[in-house]
Amino acid sequence: MSMTLTEKILAAHAGRERVSPGELVNARVDLALANDITAPVAIKAFREMGAERVFAPERVALVPDHFTPNRDIQSAEQAKLLRDFAREQNLPYYYEVGRMGIEHCLIPEEGLALPGELIVGADSHTCTYGALGAFATGVGSTDLAAAMALGELWLRVPETVKFVLHGRPRNRWVGGKDYILFLIGQVGVDGCRYQAMEFHGQAVAELPLDGRFTMANMAIEAGAKNGIFPPDEATLSYLAGRAKRPFAPVHPDPDAGYAAVYEYDVTDLEPQVAFPFSPANVRPVSAAGHVPVDQVVIGSCTNGRLSDLRMAAQVLQGRQVHPGVRCLVFPGTPRIYREALAEGIIETLVGAGAAVSTPTCGPCLGGHLGILAAGERAVSTTNRNFRGRMGHVTSEVYLAGPAVAAASAVAGHLVSPEEL
């Protein structure tokens, strides 16, 4: 009867008493989402399937966040496909530029991802919603089309790997990004391939929701199907007044079976950096050596939340961005942008010489608004540093949390805020 958090959610959505790793199940979908890159392919497949209406308009969300505000004519055409489909299907959760945010910041903020739910999205970072105790996983466009048409999808029940983070970090700049980079460095980019990562321990329990989103977001960078946190008081207080649907939190059984259990103590953890060209190529920032920086990116579905911007502003307060650095900031949603305005964070960032954009994925995936030239280097709070990810194939991306990114913007080279 004992099941992990992921197994329990999959069983409940497959109408089963229990499920075991390796089984294939047809699971009911609570929310299906896509963006301006993946939705056009999904809409085409949806039509080819002979589908006419989505299974439930209030359970399909479309967020044009990747190449918007439209970067070129072709992107504008793709965004239009999305818009037209949203109108045709009367989708209440379509977001136009101005109200649109980066999907994985926006969907939780809108109360559309809830504990115990099963969410599929045509975007690999859909796993972000595991922060709230949901099973959430990325799929391709054809799978998403099937979910939009049927309201269900076949899924293989993954094994679960348990990660227990003990202790409380001494370093005030250490956060969720450092935890997850450290873990990916430990297990490798395919260390949890096809598996669920379930997070436990004091460090995780004390981690605010923003940090949990960052950690769950990057589960895919370890090859995982999903990353998930048992919901707690912090989860419920985050959802108070937001949740668009009733929900029932699910918890793992104490004697559930895990494929592996990893335990770490984070007390002495330093800020971490992933060097090119792999999110697993991780070392502590003190071991970075001298890496000159041309660009700093603060934002994205990984680190575009209010506490991320706040941390960057704490570093930049009373300091200036190095004259040789372009420092680009992308608040995750319009609400985060406004809260950052109200708190004076935007004033601090702009006053320090940073450029603040409307919410968009922007340069994270080399889309627009901050593409790197040959040989240029960026320190970025995003999630991937693959070859050519942010621009030219010889450019380099160093992944870090907002504090290291902001400190590097000031110094002009990769550095910890403590060294400024």
Partner: protein, 170 residues
């Protein structure tokens, strides 16, 4: 499905979706346009060198990263008959099956096969034969449900049938 014969194009471990099709080209989903840039950041000459029926051979975790279905679409439209790898990232694995790009999880073949050599692949039996020596390698069989999905022509016809069944019940 007939036996497929083609030449091997080798790549390493952890070939990510940005290498298979860089995001800068994702302002279209036209397979022909995507095919022009297949594997561009790993090998800029790939799209011009690859011949219809050729195979991509790679190490572990092929297709890691993004959920972009444009990745298997680009390879398929470039003429790639299939991908042989030690292992596949899960979203790429699903996407390839869903759009009908044959994939073979075959660690021994992935280690042994050399750039430019010819292979004959029986996609149904999951057998990979090195033409120069006749040496054979086998691929991990797909689970039964996925075999049925492939036999039905992929996920699109499968869903079409499910929708028709629902319509019939209503």
């Amino acid at each position: 499905m007939a036996v497929l014969t083609g030449r091997v194009h080798r790549f390493g471990d952890d070939v990510d979706t940005d290498l298979i099709i860089p995001a800068r080209y994702l302002n279209t989903s036209d397979p022909v346009e995507l095919a022009r840039h297949a594997m561009e950041d790993a090998d800029p000459a790939f799209a011009s060198r690859v011949k219809p029926g050729d195979f991509v051979v790679a190490g572990k975790n092929f297709g890691c990263g993004s959920s972009r279905e444009h990745a298997p679409l680009a390879l398929k439209a470039a003429g790639v008959a299939g991908v042989i790898a030690s292992s596949f990232a899960r979203i790429f694995y699903r996407n390839a099956l869903n759009i009908g790009l044959p994939i073979f999880e075959a660690p021994e073949a992935a280690r042994a096969l050399k750039e430019g050599e010819e292979v004959a692949v029986d996609p149904v039996a999951g057998r990979i034969r090195r033409l120069s020596t006749g040496e054979e390698f086998s691929a991990t069989p797909f689970p039964e449900f996925m075999q049925a999905l492939v036999a039905a022509g992929g996920l699109v016809p499968y869903v079409r049938r499910r929708l028709a069944e629902r319509g019939g019940r209503a």
